[in-house]
Amino acid sequence: MSDQQRPGYQVDTYVRPNLSYCCGRGGKWGKSCWQGPNGEGQCGGASECSPVKEGDRWECRRPKQAGGACAEGPRPDGTCCNVQPPCTPRRTLRSMRGMVSKIAALLLLLALIIGIHPGTKSFVNPTAIDAGNLSSVHAGFTRQNGCASCHGNHINEAGGWLLAAFSSNDTSEQCVDCHRFAGPAMKAHNQDHAKNEKYAGQAMADVSCAVCHNEHKGADNKLSKVSDQACASCHKPEFGNFQRGHPEFSAKFAAAKPGNIYFDHTSHIQDYFVNPKHMKMGRDPQFAAIAKSDCSSCHAIDKATREIKLKSYEQVCANCHKTQIKERELILFEPERMTAAGSVLTGLSRDGDEEINTKALKNLWQSMAASGRSALSRFGAEDLFTGLSDSVARTAGSAWSRSKDLPQADPPESGWFAGENSEGNPALFYRAVKHDDPVLQAWFKKLRAGLADKDDEKRALAREAMNDFLDKQTGPGACGKCHAAGLRTASKTSTGQEWKYAAHDATAKDQLKPYSHPKHLNVRDAGLGCGACHQMSADSKYGKYFTPKQVPVESYESNFAAIRKETCVDCHREGQVVSSCQTCHAYHTKHELNVGSSNKELAKK
């Protein structure tokens, strides 16, 4: 048989990229054998051919590309005569690539997913689920319970942990364990819009905390920072920025409501500090000269914090108003008529049956003559009569029970006295000891309690007395001159805030953040000072609201003109000072922290 007729003689060397192994000699830049390695990676070229027995002879099967049949031919035992040491086949690039991929995948699984972490309470390696560092405000909070502080599924066993992937795992419930709001936590602006006619018929879905607040973005991440786009999802029409499209401020911004204290800037600046006739009130000419043009005469700027605070009564008001406080007496009783205070104290109407009133008062005078102050204490709290001595009470009771005149004496500058009052009438009366007088405060407290009484008659008496007490000209202590608004609107349970100065709160309705004066001082026009933003309103009817009539709060007009959007736009505009929604507006209402509750509840579980 010629070479060409032999089976396999013309066969080509089959070296292809998709084979797993190739000849090891080739790896050393030697000549590869024609057979190549087998599928298991063993050398197939230790002998150059596999002889075949034809009849009684062994024939060489070396193919053409390996040189054809050799001259020596196979050995008598049928083995090839051309043998060589077997090579160590090497992997092809493709095979190596596959192996590298498998090893890398295995290492990844070991390192990230099934590598048990000794410190964790979960069966997964913390690295494998680490979504990033918590913000600095939450980092310490999770120290005790780790991921489970917010993610309840974290402490599940393996099966439950995996099954949790198919259920909703909103963490908002855990958020509100610590974060409390005035209204429903998941509703827009924590308000139940279903009750608001403005939004009737509009579906207001619950908003998960994670929609706006993205955790695991690193310690420096500002969790509270929300994009303007989020606000625009509800607030239409959408606008580009504050400068372009933001609605104009309201006509009375930012003083749509009155504060607690009546202070007419216009009359003070244009009249009291200027007109010489007011000099007799005890006005300090030097103060008046400055105060009419310099706001800091009354509004102090703290040098350290740049906060603007109102100076105290003693610093700015007392000069003119301290004499008024002592001049206006609280008249408790007069023998000839029922006073407002007496009416509230005894429950007797000033317009009631005169005979009954006279009889009741007669009995009271007799009691006072007999037991002094204690005769009055049965009507109310002791603090109404602080400073009233038994002798003063007995003097009044003794004289009036016997229908005699009170003894002649000069009344003291302050305190309780039985004698002629400033109008020349005999009375048991009180003159305020000081501004912030405790006796007058106690009387106002009693009047407020009376205003809330269930008995219509008592309520009417209290209302009538309150009007008398708050009278600007005659009210005791002249309290009503400045404090009328606060005292009228104060609740029964008020703890005294109604007496304090409080700036108009523009934040409540408009979801505005408290305005920061320190950040804004002298940034607009330093030469104008406060006037850069606060312009006096010449035609305002400021005093209209502070009258005894029940004037609706909507009719209130500030001494100052409304602040317009353009005032803010001077600086808060594109390319200058930030003007995002959150610069001025807050989403949540009355956010409070109840830190630690989540951990405690988790521990209980």
Binding site: T13, V15, R16, P17, L19, C22, C23, R25, G26, G27, W29, G30, K31, S32, T92, L93, R94, M96, R97, V100, S101, A104, A105, L108, L109, L112, I113, T127, A128, I129, D130, A131, G132, N133, C147, H151, N153, H154, W161, L162, A164, A165, F166, N169, D170, T171, V207, A210, V211, C212, H216, K217, G218, S227, Q229, A230, A232, S233, E238
Partner: protein
Amino acid sequence: MTVQDQTSSKQEFSAPLAGTPMAREQAVKFLGLIIFAVLAWIAITIFVWLGRRNLWAVSHITGYVLFVVVLGLVFLKARKRLLVLPLGPVRDWLLLHFVLGALSLPLYFQHTGTFWPQGRYEQFIALFFYTASVSAIVGIIFQRIYPRRLIDLGSQVIYERIPTELANLREEAEALVLQAVRETNSDTVGRYYAESFQWFFKKPRFVLSHLLGTGRSLGWIQMRVKVLDRFLNQTEREYMHKLEAIAMRKNGLDAHYAMQGALKLWLFVHVPSAILLVLLACWHLIVVNIYS
């Protein structure tokens, strides 16, 4: 086919050549896919824009889209293995692979919103994503440059057969040198071969030069021949020219080795990182659904 009898058979090259109907068809398909990808990206961008204005879970949705795109990219590998299914030619899948890969980059940034995420396993995802992306870009550059240059070499050889071809050339060169020594009774050519050309024929040389296409190897060969030329007689000179011809063929083989190697080796980075990326993306999908 050995390197000696190779012809510059451009028609046999598997990539469609410029100007051929197949190349035109591929170009049209590629253009169509690019347009599709651009439209898809615009649609996703609009969706994200709308989503952010309507408090939709944008990152969840872009995440799922990105996951589907990554699975689409991996399907090229599956397609190569699923030979029995009529899924269209691999070159079409490769075009789709290019386009989806390009789409995945903006999608990734739309999904994460950052270059480098905070989570440790997410950082691994980012690392493998960037590795796969950069290696893909390198691979595309290789595929745009080296196949043309390999055609210009005028010869073809299977990468796995290069060691054998190299050994054949070395044997041929050594046989020629021995013959020269016998015929000229001088060891000039033999000694010179042992001192310089033996190094050259031992294994592929000037790999970087071939990759960069600087031609430094040609200069090296010609310089070695020229230096010896004035010391040779006519017979020796003829043998030296024959040796130079063999060295030139070896140089072509080296070029094949360098460029084919580059065309294969970039996949050493691309494929494992892509596989790890898919594994971690699946894990990410599970974790995200468990914890949010």
